[in-house]
Each structure stands twice: as C-alpha cells, then as structure tokens.
Symmetry: C2
Subunit: 220 residues, 2 copies
C-alpha cells in the first residue's frame, strides 16, 4: 500500500470540504486559461468568496503545499485536485431506468470528462431493451446479475420511477454495486457500507422556488 492510500485510510475528508474542492479546481482552471502561473489562497479567497483560512484548511487534505509569497503552482494544483477528486480515473457505472432523465444522462458525454463512464443501462420497456443510446447498450433488468460478471462496475445511477427506487436499489446492492447515485426524490435505505449520493433536481428546484417567492413576498 502506498502513502497516498495510507493517507486515505487514516483521514475521512469532511463532506463540506469535498464539495468546496471542485470550486478551487474550477477557479484554478480559469486562472490557467488567463495565463496565470501561481495563485495565493488570499487571491483565491477574493475570487470565490471563501474565507482564506478555510481554503488553507481544505487544501491541507490534498497533497499540495504553497510557496511563500507566490502561492500554489496552478498546474500542479489542477493535477492534484483532479486526481484527488477522482476525475482522472474512469469509474464505470450502470444506469437503471432509461426514462427522460436517464436518457439524458446516457447522452451527456460531459460526465466522462469527470471520471464517470456509463457502460450499460437497464430497463424493462420492450421498446428500449436491445437498443442503445450514444453507443451505450440497454439491457433488460433481469440481465443485471449476468452483466455484473462481464463488466467491472461499482457504481449504479438510479433514475427509475420512485415506486421502484427501493426495490431496484436492493437488487443493485445484492448484485455487488457499492455506490448509488440517486437522482430520484425518494430516500432509499441502504446498508452502512454502501455509498449514496442524492442528487434530486426537484429538491433543488423546491428550495429555489421557495426562496424566490419569499423574496417577492417581502417586496410587496
């Protein structure tokens, strides 16, 4: 086991830190495009409006050290962050439920730039099974266990209707899936060792609508 792995074993990075690291990455990429070579945490703090001590603390989790007076080497910062965030390794995934959102995610080549490659999808709709989207084959759901043996997949993307979200999650986990990216607004229950990332576009919409109405009501 190398040092990097050992470090990961010892320290579980807090989720808020993990959510901020992509901001530093996108800021570093932007500065690089502008022709900059170094960035200080003070400069970054002004650019993205995060406390300078918070930035230093967050970056202490990744293997990079700034130089006095000049700050971080931008190219190094980009490489280290992309590597740390898992964007440089391709993680293979299966997608479950080729509805409107599922179809959209199969078509979005953008996800592969960030390390996620959907290699196959599952559905029960006879009009979809046997076809492919963007070169990704769509299999019948009852072929899942067999396909787990053929592909080396740890991640499942969940875009099924809510009434089967729990059942499909259970099936995924029984088949060996270790992480579920849940796009449904349903709160799935999983064993402790299974990673769940909830991305409910509808929950985000709800927050936005409510805040917008709140602001408009205040103005009245």
């Amino acid at each position: 086991m190398n040092n990097q792995k050992r470090q990961k074993d010892d320290i579980k990075v807090p989720e808020p830190t993990l959510r901020r690291l992509p901001w530093y990455l996108s800021n570093a990429k932007l500065l690089k495009q502008k022709g900059e070579h170094f960035v200080s945490s003070t400069q970054m703090s002004k650019e993205i409006n995060i406390d300078v001590s918070q930035i230093a603390k967050d970056l202490s989790y990744v293997k990079i050290s700034g130089r006095t007076r000049v700050g971080y080497d931008i190219s190094e910062l980009i490489n280290v962050l992309e590597d740390f965030l898992g964007f440089t390794n391709i993680h293979k995934a299966f997608l479950f439920g080729v509805g409107s959102l599922g179809g959209v995610l199969l078509g979005d080549s953008g996800l592969s730039h960030f390390g996620l490659e959907i290699v196959a999808a599952f559905d029960v709709n006879p009009e979809k099974v046997g076809t492919s989207i963007n070169g990704i084959p769509i299999f019948h759901s009852n072929e899942f266990k067999q396909k787990m043996k053929e592909y080396s997949v740890k991640i499942g993307v969940l875009t099924v209707p809510i009434e089967i979200a729990q059942q499909i999650s259970d099936t995924m986990i029984a088949g060996g899936i270790q992480a579920i990216w849940n796009f449904t607004p349903f709160r799935i229950r999983v064993p402790e060792q299974i990673v769940v990332q909830n991305t409910s576009l509808y929950a985000h919409l709800a927050v936005m609508f409510n805040r917008l109405n709140f602001n408009n009501d205040i103005k009245k």
Copy 2:
C-alpha cells in the same frame, strides 16, 4: 395579502426542511399508488428513516394537520406539499449556454412536471442560434435584454463554460433575473437579494468517488 402570503412573509423555512419536504411528497405519492388513504408520521418515519419529531416539525411549516390515530390524509398531503414546494405553478426560465448539459435540460420534459418551464435559451454559437430544441427557441445572447421584455421570466438556468459563468450571471441580473440555477462548478457571486441554487453534478461525483475509494481502502 392573504394568509398564506403573510405566513411566508413571517417565516423563512430552513433549507434542510425544504430539502426534506420532497421526500415526504414522494413517499406520500408512493403510498397513494399503493391504495393507502392515511399515513401517520410514525409510519412515514419508518418508511424514510427520519426521526418522527423531525417530520412533525418539518410539516408544521406547511398548512396541514394530522388527525389523531389516523394521521395525515394522503391526497391532502400531496396537494399541500406540491403547492408549498411551488410544483403546481409554472415558473418560466431562460437557459444560458446550450452545451451538452444545457441541451440535455432543454430536452428533459420532466422538469415541467415540477413547475419549471424553460421558454427560451441563449448561446453565441452561430450553428445553434436560430434553431430550437424540443420546441424551445435558441436566441443569440445579445438578444437577452430584448427577450426579457417579451417573456415574463425570473429564473435563469446557468450551463455555460466556467470562464464566462460570472460574466453571464452579471448580465442576467442586470437584465432582471431574480434566481439563478447554477449547474456550473463555478461559485458565482451575486447581490444579496438574488437567489442562487448550486447543482454541481461534478461536486456530487467527487463526493461519491472519494467515499467509494475510502470504503475500498478500508477493506484492504
């Protein structure tokens, strides 16, 4: 001003509550599909694994009261939650940046079921300007101010490259946009009265990858 409006004026619902309400909604919809008529907070607590007192507290923000021994009327709960979350009113939106994710959101008819209707999109790519996706016209970005006068729009969906995310946000706000749904991994800065909802798929991927690696390292 009616009572509901007054209530919104007085109480700003906490964001964690707003994020949980769609879970209650999807659970209620599921129970309705199963033919149930009433649900107690205890039952809901078991179904979605949230503390019963938390559920009661969250639901106290919406205008619904349960009945002793039988609980909440499920149909009423669905109506009240959908209304409260803003899913029953159509909110018109402009989309900025018809790249891969932008194109995907224009094609996703699913968003309109939750109250968001993208009525027009903006880009500078001459191959896209003048065309339409899913019936939604794509205009040149410099037509934005004019189009704000034609459409009644308060929401802007931001799916541009990170290097212009701030500039386009500034343009949106100057033109009268009041809420920005930011899909970029860039942290935009806005005046206090502007609502920003960040939905960075890449930040969610980063959290998932990191947790998955952490679990796999532990097993070694």
